[in-house]
Symmetry: C2
Subunit: 373 residues, 2 copies
């Protein structure tokens, strides 16, 4: 088996569970958050920084790596792990999400999607087979099936057709996937319709994968709808396989989804926000450019043990951001990634103590966004 998932504790009061995933590049605890290393780099961080932040597994983007530097080059350089000097576990996405978000530039057929490169305008076909070929060359520990995410909003009939295509493509991915050292995860679609979520889940589970992703969420829908769709999907997934909610998200979204039984997450939120100067702290978000921080000698978050908070003041971080210093990106990103890693550790601790709902309410209260109940 390319990966081994062990559930070490199931919470009694929610679907949340604690687990461990073993890969050929080491193990990580779940629930887990994967920082995004789009172009073989988590923007502004070196692999030394990632390790110090406690990162357990990274996500790489197939679309970007295929276009630049090219999957064959990465393979020639010993695979993505060696190329970017990250010897821990890696997951790559299928490339589908990026291709479909370039709406004007792509053409969909049964075969796959033809698209134009955002770098040089060259034309390419991405298909289930091609996605497998690229992801095998990149050599991640976990790879994803090539699916068709539906836009939001979409009609029931369009979503239904898209779900059927996703299932046919998932089958082709499974057939095309040869590298037995990699775990291929299936992706459930079904848009915002509980019946289609259920149908998609059943079809994908029927094909049989070592892990399942919930795709097509966090695409602009209300939070309640996202939660409803997770609830419409999770009961149809085998409890013994890891569940991965793609592209989510903010701390509150992660906490709520863990309560619903999700084990894995990824999102650019912590890294992109860091570069924009929006920093997550134990008492809520901080916009570092605000004048209030100008002569503040306190650390960004006095409850944080990251390199940034251990060594620098808010005044210095504001100065670096205002002056456009490159170091600003690194220090801010170190903090946000560390914050997310610490959040996941707190979540795991709360699950172990069967008190994740209480922790969720405490977290929302502490960060200035209390729940009602």
């Amino acid at each position: 088996m390319p990966i081994k998932f062990t559930i070490t504790h199931q919470e009694t009061k929610s679907r949340a569970r604690l687990g461990e995933i073993k890969t050929e590049h080491g193990s990580f605890q779940t629930p887990v958050f994967m920082p995004v290393g789009t172009q073989a780099s988590v923007k502004a961080l070196g692999s030394d920084d990632l390790k110090k932040c406690g990162v357990g597994i990274l996500l790489g983007n197939t679309y970007h790596l295929y276009l630049r530097p090219g999957h064959q080059l990465v393979k020639e350089m010993g695979g993505l792990h060696r190329f970017m000097n990250w010897n821990g576990p890696i997951l790559t996405d299928s490339g589908g999400y990026q291709v479909f978000s370039l709406k004007e530039l792509n053409k969909l057929t049964e075969e796959g999607v033809t698209f134009q490169s955002h770098i040089d305008g060259s034309r390419h076909l991405l298909s289930p087979e091609k996605s497998m070929e690229i992801q095998e060359a990149l050599g991640a520990d976990i790879i994803m099936a090539f699916d068709e995410p539906v836009p939001y909003p979409a009609s029931h009939s369009d979503t239904e057709e898209s779900g059927k295509l996703t299932t046919r493509w998932a089958k082709r991915c499974k057939e095309a996937h040869k590298d037995t050292s990699q775990a291929l995860f299936g992706i459930v679609q079904g848009g915002m319709f509980p019946d289609l979520r259920e149908r998609s889940a059943k079809e994908i589970v029927e094909l049989g994968f070592p892990g399942y992703a919930i795709g097509g969420l966090s695409v602009g829908e209300p939070k309640e709808l996202m939660a409803e769709m997770i609830d419409a999907t999770v009961p149809h997934l085998p409890p013994e396989a890891p569940r991965y909610l793609m592209g989510v998200g903010y701390p509150e979204d992660i906490l709520r989804s863990v309560l619903q039984g999700v084990d894995m997450f990824d999102c650019v939120v912590p890294t992109r926000n860091a570069r924009n100067g929006t920093l997550f702290t134990s008492t809520g978000k901080v916009m570092i450019k605000n004048a209030a921080h100008k002569n503040d000698p306190k650390p960004l978050d006095s409850n944080c043990s990251c390199y940034t908070c251990s060594n620098f003041t808010r005044a210095y971080l504001r100065h670096l951001f205002t002056a456009g210093e490159i170091l600003s990106y690194r220090l801010n990103t170190i903090h946000n990634v560390h914050f997310y890693m610490n959040l996941m550790a707190e979540i795991r601790k709360a699950i172990r103590e069967n008190r994740l709902k209480e922790y969720y309410c405490e977290f929302r209260k502490a960060t200035g966004n209390p729940c009602c109940g």
Copy 2:
């Protein structure tokens, strides 16, 4: 004494000497190269990176720090060392060089220079007294007298007037400087005229400082002329005080100047070149964007032990640079700064062995720029 300079070895075959400077923030060996931390940050590096590169002393820019974030703010935050989390020695320049390079924007009087901020156009006066006030607030271990560098080329009479003004200003700096924990260095001017270099040196030495800088060089003049001016200055400086050649330079310039008796250097060359993708190696300069490096699995410099060379390939460095990744700036800068620190260590070793001239020739030969003799 705010600093203590000890000469530990004088080369027999040249003016090169080995020394140590003790400050309240620790000691460093000379000859030394100071990376430039313009705005309280050596661009792209954290203080953790600087330590790992073996940096002994940093340079901070008074002009930039005065305008942003402001010297009073830095003082309020505990001084520049604490503000930027660098607990080793720091030298600040006087602000004069930056003010005078904004040619259109300044007005010179006996009092000082009135200039407009490059950030918001506000008007400011920089004078010997003001420069001392700012540098005392910043709290560096070594601070510099406020001088008037002459442009290149300049006439003998303009250079003579400028030298006289520099001496009057040096006297005012000495009178205004109150913080006995800081060492105030004098600066010798005199343009490209040996007689004026000698006169300036004698006048500045007459005032008495714990260290002397050679200013107004590396401003576009031929290398031979720079060397001639150093030779016209050094014999008039007291051998027991450190000699600092400001704004120099390339490895060859540093090597040649050490042979002429210079102890301290600073320049943006290693850091700025790093950001432009020009990297110094033991076999010469490498332009990392060149297609030749596209699938090169070798480290940038196989003779280098820096973080970058120990962990990443040329292919990866080229990819990061081509993709515009922020990490590119950090990895490139770590290497170039480490290269300079290693160069200085090699220089000190060669001096200890009385073979710096041989090392100079070996270095030029290895880097593809052999000397004639």
